[in-house]
Amino acid sequence: MTDGLVFSANMDHEWPAEGLKRIPDWVYTDKTIYQREVERIFHGRTWNYVALEAEIANPGDFIRSNVGPTPVVVARDQDGTIHVVENRCAHRAAEFCRELSGSVTEFVCPYHQWSYELNGRLRSVPFRRGVAGKGGMPADFEPTRHGLRRLNVTTHRGVVFASYADDMEPLADYLGPDILREFEATFDGRRLRVLGHYRHTLPGNWKLYHENLKDPYHATLLHTFLVTFGLLVAGNRSLMLADASGRHGVMCSAKSEATSVAQEHRAEMRAYKEGMSLADPRLMDFIDEFDSPWSVTMATIWPNLIVQREMNTLGIRQIVPTGPHEFIMKWTMFGFAGDDDAMTRHRLRQGNLMGPAGFLGLEDNEAIKFVQDGMLGVPGGQHLVELDPATATGTTDTLISEAAIRGMYRHWRGVMGL
């Protein structure tokens, strides 16, 4: 795709004088900024989502994942411990694990058959002593010093996180109490059941996905379907929650009846369509199964996790950045082990709302592409994020706000030194 960054490659990264009310394009388009993000954010002091425990239920089970762009393998050891290691042989760097998931007793690199324990320890090197007294590794070769690169691991309520930082604070402190409460409302202790995956590319900068879910304004305008069927309408009870650091957020809303959309709001929304109905209204049924005042919560957990609780369709979205202009999104849709067949099918039907073919999901993907296209087509500009001046940054109870986006950039600038 277009590498429209010839301009910004040597540009001074100077933030606009207006402060957080502006976001310069180079934040989204500059390769050097992206490289610094990998180093300071994804490989820095963050907890990165890597898997659900349900995906590696038994000893020996593994799944391929990523921390930022870096491929990792998440595996459950014989004693139940979960390990996260880089998918890169310590010998010649080969990405040794090729299957998306599976079950093994050891990892063997196919190139020269170096083998590793599930915890990453080097187990054997073929012909380490050479043949007939010739060749082989030096006598002082120390296998314990040549294992796979291991990451720090933590789990909470069946969700597995990894970090390149060995001295990370506990996940609960990383999230803060407000975000943790919403996380635990969705992951309420019931055992998870994986229903399947969606994977798609998205031709935009990875941060735009966080911003889209810290931008409740768009939800009432872009998503005609939501508005038409009363799921999220300006004036509904809602909250845009941010943690103290500004990096995490949860967009929360309570469903209303579409007929309750006030006349004054309808006039503002081109999207609103009156008197429409679904041929199969089961799609919009909400079975109240959570201890929460909200029927919908979208949690953005820095830097690579979105937790979707859209009524009864539940999903993880994992951001895998591949450069400044594109990222991969891996979704893991789930229900609970105790769901009966009717509940599972309800979740699957409601899944039509989200994902790359979802009535709402496809619109988000398109909108984010349009934003990146706009910057590539007309580079060197800046974005305007001024809504809700009464809240400089952070939590707000109006949907017509960009305060959470400003809060995210306050944090980002600190980490990036910009």
């Binding site: 998306l100 995956h197 798609h200 379907f225 099918r345 979802g358 009535f359 496809l362």
Partner: protein, 168 residues
């Protein structure tokens, strides 16, 4: 007079042709974005699914599109035509390698075929391979001719390019 073998052979050829013709009309309805016509190719209790081969092989039930019944298929068309925002595009569905697998006791027909969907966006010059996969079908005979009782679209590509706006 034709031998019973020849008659069976001719019947099989006719059925093969009939399903091929159905698939050609199905592709035309989607390519021309006549989505209402596409809905009419399903019976009332039809199941329509679009999922990855990764999910199908692991027997995971999720679908990018998961429609239980024609009403849900109709609602998707409603959403796409009346509410959804996506960039304009041209699509070309190419269906081939039809295999008629057999006939159930109730007269339903099982078949499969390969498909390719190419997409052209107006801001990118070339057609791109949007999806490649296979249809796993159950057809039934109605007074209007063959209709789909079940179509499971299983795509091989690991990644969906951005958004799947028009059905497969």
């Amino acid at each position: 007079m034709q031998s019973p073998d020849t008659e069976r052979h001719l019947a099989a050829l006719l059925l093969h042709h009939e399903i091929e013709l159905f698939n050609t009309r199905y592709a035309a309805a989607l390519d021309e974005q006549r989505l209402q016509d596409w809905v009419e190719l399903f019976v009332d209790d039809a199941f329509y699914l679009v999922t990855s081969r990764e999910n199908a092989e692991q027997r995971l039930p999720v679908g990018l599109i998961y429609s239980e019944g024609k009403a849900m298929i109709q609602d998707r068309v409603f959403a796409l035509e009346k509410t959804a925002m996506f960039a304009p595009r041209y699509l070309r569905h190419v269906i081939g390698n039809l295999l008629v697998l057999g006939e159930e006791a109730n007269g339903d027909l099982r078949a499969q075929a390969n498909y390719v969907v190419l997409q052209v966006l107006f801001d990118r010059p070339d057609a791109t391979l949007h999806q490649i996969g296979s249809y796993h079908d159950v057809f039934c005979r109605t007074v209007d001719g063959l209709r789909l009782k079940e179509r499971r679209c299983v795509y091989d590509n690991l990644l969906v390019p951005n958004a799947l706006c028009i059905p497969v």
